[in-house]
């Protein structure tokens, strides 16, 4: 049984097909045709809908845009699914009204998807503004200064991030950007708070109605402090769709159905259905196993549950490694990052997947589990060949373990990321990192080459080199030769630049494909190395090196 709210209606499904996507359910079963199919692959956003879930405080609503065309029904359990049909009652929602006023729809086919992405951003912005106002009011009473209420207006950049998964072929986007800014920076619509309270209560009721004696105690909050309710009965089965509540059940299911597909975000698995038309015999959703969604510091490492969506783990990840910000936002569109998980990105073993190169350079290792025992494996030993991994039958990826940067590892308390300043003097120990991605389109594209570099320097000399590359071999790879050659060299010395370029140009045998030629990939490897060297050796010069500056 799967229970969820479809807009304001409580839906209980005793059985769902393994390969039923949310979009097919909406359009074909429910005849709700506002959400469109543009590509059935999560690349255009015409099908965008919003999932609302309660954060761990059971109060705050979390709005998550997803591509309904590549989301299986299992993802809806315990949540509210909002579609474009929900937004306008007697009056248009402010985001719809703004679209109208800015002349932001032409053919209109992408508009419902845009409206839903705008809606999620609006709800998030207004919630933050509402709570900021409350805080501000309280602080005024106690005559404190209120610096955190400055952020009341939404910036253009935030709009671009929120709408990065929606393609429009008609407008050129300018009026859509303006409409989003207009709606989100205008007043909240009447009844906004009441609506939120109503939704919160309905979600709470839904969760409680599902809870019974089998309910597992509330678990630690997820990353960014939300989600994670274990509310589905043990071994819930809807046809051949399973939602195990813990790893024990998962192990049992894998024994019974060895060919079952594991799904967390499903952003790649769903393509087997929508593009290759392959059936799925049994589907096991990992969404209800809280331990697989944990993000926590253990000792000197950050441990990320394999089924944690990228956007949920991003705050913690970029807290420790702010240099990852660009790569993770360019990893995929927001709706994809709202679903896709780090574990999926690794276990999928694409030769390109953007996180594995970064994790290789960060010396990450993996914890594999089969319900009986766990084993730990360095990430570099996980990829055996093209789409082949060291995962054994009955085994799943439990978590990813990334050693914390030394400045964090040394002290138990965490430092504010904004205080993170790269050492520019290089006289003492420092760690230099960069993560680069080159693709035809800046947003929502797959890398021609992804390159990750981490270099430790002590007294100006290179002491350790870790690298990771995507798009240059059958698997994500590192370059050991580079590490050997640079050992002991003076980083500021141009020798490091020249050596690295020479080695990287010959290190791999990339292929020609639709994204890039082998020759271009080789040149990029050398040139990205140059970029890395320039960015980390230039001192006090204003030489621009990047087209777009990232935080």
């Amino acid at each position: 049984m799967i229970q969820f709210l479809l807009n304001d209606e409580l839906v209980t499904l005793d059985a769902v097909d393994t390969d039923l996507t949310v979009l097919s359910y909406l359009r074909e079963t429910r005849k709700l045709t506002g959400s469109k199919e543009g590509c059935a692959a999560g690349d255009c956003g015409a099908c965008t809908v919003v999932l609302v879930e309660l954060e761990a405080d059971n109060k705050t609503l979390h709005y998550r845009t997803i591509n309904s065309c590549i989301t299986f029904m299992s993802a809806l359990a315990g949540k509210q699914l909002l579609t474009v049909e929900h937004l306008a009652n007697n009056e248009l929602h402010p985001v719809q009204q703004a679209m109208l006023e800015q002349h932001a729809s032409q053919c209109g086919f992408c508009s419902p998807g845009f409206v839903m992405s705008m809606y999620a951003l609006y709800q998030r912005t207004k919630s933050q503004q509402t709570s900021a106002q409350k805080t501000s009011a309280q602080k005024k009473k106690t005559q404190e200064t209120h610096s955190d209420t400055q952020k009341q207006t939404l910036e253009r950049e935030e709009v671009l991030t929120a709408l990065s998964g929606n393609l429009c072929r008609c407008t050129g986007y300018r009026p859509i950007i303006d409409a989003t800014l207009q709606a989100c920076n205008g007043p909240s619509h009447a009844g906004f708070i009441e609506e939120q309270q109503k939704t919160q209560q309905r979600l709470l009721a839904l969760i409680e109605s599902q809870a019974d004696s089998n309910r597992i105690a509330p678990t630690p909050s997820g990353p960014s402090g939300h989600a994670v309710h274990s509310d589905i009965k043990v071994n819930v089965k809807a046809n051949n769709v399973f939602l195990p509540a813990n790893t024990q059940e998962l192990a049992e299911l894998l024994t019974t159905y060895p060919s079952a597909k594991l799904v967390a975000g499903g952003t790649d698995l769903a393509l087997q259905v929508t593009q290759a038309l392959q059936p799925i015999s049994h589907l096991i959703s990992l969404n209800k196993i809280d331990t697989l969604r944990r993000v926590e510091v253990q000792g000197d490492a950050l441990v990320i549950g394999a089924a944690c969506p990228l956007n949920d783990l991003q705050p913690k990840l970029t807290h420790y490694w702010p240099e990852l910000t660009e790569l993770i936002t360019r990893f995929a569109s927001l709706p994809i990052r709202n679903q896709a998980t780090l574990g999926g990105n690794i276990a999928n073993a694409s030769p390109i997947g953007d996180m594995p190169p970064a994790l290789l350079a960060l010396n990450a290792s993996l914890v594999l589990d089969n319900g009986q025992q766990t084993r730990r494996l360095p990430l570099k030993d996980f990829f055996l060949d093209y789409r082949k991994t060291a995962l054994k039958a009955g085994e799943w990826l439990d978590s990813i373990v990334i050693p914390l940067p030394s400045e964090f590892a040394d002290t138990v308390q965490t430092r504010d990321a904004s205080n993170f300043i790269e050492s520019t003097t290089l006289t003492e120990s420092s760690c230099l990192r960069r993560f680069y991605k080159v693709s035809k389109r800046y947003e929502d594209d797959i890398s021609a080459v992804c390159a990750a570099f981490q270099i430790k320097v002590h007294d100006g000399k290179v002491t350790e080199v870790n690298t990771g590359f995507g798009g240059v071999a059958a698997t994500p790879v590192e370059c050991q030769a580079l590490a050997t050659a640079l050992q002991g060299q003076t980083w500021q010395d141009e020798v490091c630049l020249v050596l690295g370029q020479k080695i990287l140009k010959e290190a791999f045998a990339p292929i020609d494909d639709v994204r890039a030629s082998a020759a271009y990939r080789r040149t990029l490897l050398a040139n990205l190395w140059q970029r890395f060297w320039l960015e980390t050796t230039q001192q006090n010069t204003a030489m621009p090196i990047r087209l777009v500056q990232h935080a």
Binding site: G38, L100, L160, N166, Y442
Partner: protein, 781 residues
Amino acid sequence: MRKLIATQQAYPTSDKRSQKHESAKRQVTGTARYVDDLPEPANLLYAAVGTSNVASGTLRQLDLTAVKNSTGVVDVITAADVPGHLDIAPVFDGDPLLAHKQVAFHGQPLFAVIADSVMNARRAVQLAKIDIEPTAPILSVAAAHESNSHVRPPHYMQQGASDLALQQAPHTSEGHLSVGGQEHLYLEGQVSLAIPEEEDRILLYTSSQHPSEVQKLVAEVLNVKLHKVIVDMRRMGGGFGGKETQAAQWACLAALAARRTGRAVKLRLPRQQDMITTGKRHPFENHFTIGFDQQGKLLAADIDINGNCGHSADLSDAIVDRAMFHADNCYFIKDCQISGYRLKTNYVSHTAFRGFGGPQGMIMAEAMMDRIARITGQDPLTVRKHNLYGKENGTLTPYGMEIEHHLIADMLAQLEQSSAYWQRRDEIKAFNETSPIIKKGLALTPVKFGISFTAKHLNQAGALVHIYTDGSIQVNHGGTEMGQGLHTKIAQIAAHEFGVSIDDIEVTATRTDKVPNTSPTAASSGTDLNGKAVQNACQEIKRRLATFYCQEHLNKLDAESIAGVQFVDNKVTLEDTCIDFAELVQAAYIGRVSLSASGFYKTPKIHYDRETGTGRPFFYFAYGAAAAEVVIDTLTGESKVTQVDILHDVGHSLNPALDIGQIEGGFIQGMGWLTSEELCWNADGALTSNNLATYKIPAIGDTPAIFNVQLYDRPNEEESIYHSKAVGEPPFMLAISVWCALKDAIASLADYQVDPQLDPPATPEKVLAAIQVLKQKKGAA
């Protein structure tokens, strides 16, 4: 003859013109229906298409036994099952509904499966056993030239004696450009729903820019007369030319399946198949030889235009013609030879796409300007301004059409000022001198685009206007709504004519049983043609109402009075008399006056003689100019457009908001064509950029943060509808400024003395390659 309703007040100039898109509210609420959203008829079946897996060959055997036995399959259709015409080509033969014996491209439809669900139909397709004996395909323009493989004969235009002039010119230079094609990527894919009606009648809902052609082809395929077929087209989720001719195939297949099964059938292509089986913007291989003087004046040009047409003619004849018509852009070329070749290759048949060959021709003109500028050491804008059509240089195009109205010099001057071109030029040069890795570039380029179908007979339109007894008005016309706002402008025209509120006008779905024998909504002509036809119908009804009003209410019978009646503010007035519009309509109905009329329009003045390559193919020209600033990364070739300033000529704008929407959208689409949108085929002729993961149209982050668009709001000198100008295609070519700006940024690496070779699309890989060549040249020098 007296002018009808001579005193009608002029079309307004205020912001009130910016009516919202008539469907905007329905679009943003998800209630606007596209074909796949229509409530499904009972017992609906779904079709899927099976395609060839080689680019060229002979079909030996098509074993569909397993397909027929697959779950849910009701029927399977091959070429042998077509009762009427197998060829559904729009103009010249060569487009089989389903391939029969000969296979001409990788992905060519061979059969269709009809099943009880989309999934069952598509899965059944996978079970076909296809045996094709491959033959050597022709996969390049060069190979097609070698094999003398053309879909249509070459065409030539010439003026003066370019051979001699090239010999005598102080400077000469040659250039070659491989111009990439473009996938339409309308967000709504190809789709048709066919509903069998009584006996052999059939009703189709289709996403098509050309319902009349769908009607004709369906009738021919089914072997019935045209009057048995009705095509209904409310709106498309984007067209851009991709649904002009190439929507018909899917409608014909759905109709045939519906005929055979007696049940309604829907055929919607999955995105990947849509990208593989439908034609794109033509890739071109173009060449120029130019002669010029040290001042940068272009004296002579010999230009070869080679369109890669794919396996059949489709619209390629007119497309290559239009490329030729625009190879001059805004520049006078005294001695000029333009040769246009239409090469037949084993690719999908390339088709109409916004600009219709114009962009692929026009880019040559801008390439020539850049070349002259680099060789003579001048700023490209200086060279451009130096070569414009005008009294000083000359006013005759290579195809013998006189340029009568010279707007572009003034527009360039305005934009030069408003975009602070020279100040930014200095800033950019200073920046580049101190920035070894990141380089900036700037370019300001003009557009002159000819308005009219070059196939003369298409320049006609019809309309049907009804007034109901409550005074509300229904308007129907031959144009189709694909997002451009045509129905909105039409409603504004009807509202203006009758002097009523736009809420009193309902523009209904385009239907072949309301207005017959229509032209495609293409060539930017939608409003020009249909707007005039609607105006014509409105004026006919107004004449009847005015006559009735004068005779019955005022007892005035003279023509003067009738002509003096005005329709303003929901009232009908003559001098100091006045009656409510709805009241007059009521009275006229009781008085047995017909409240319905059809309208018609044909474009005047146009003619073209293919024998001599001369004439006046265009009613008028639409102009525009754009200044684009870019920044490139010389380590990776990545680029970003940081600022765009546009001044565009739409005549007297019918709706500034919609016009600006066309300009911005056209620009970004053009920018995609020239930067990130790369079509790739493998050595076997299979499309590898066949989904949205591998074919990248601009995303929201690609829109320049500074994007200024101004209208050059000035009446069209020609008698177009309220002196407005067409706006669908011209702005697309404003994006050539981006390509020129990228070249400008690259050229900075060699002190602006070398014109970089940058074949569009300028992907990061291509930009980096151009950079490397320049660095090597500079190193060698």
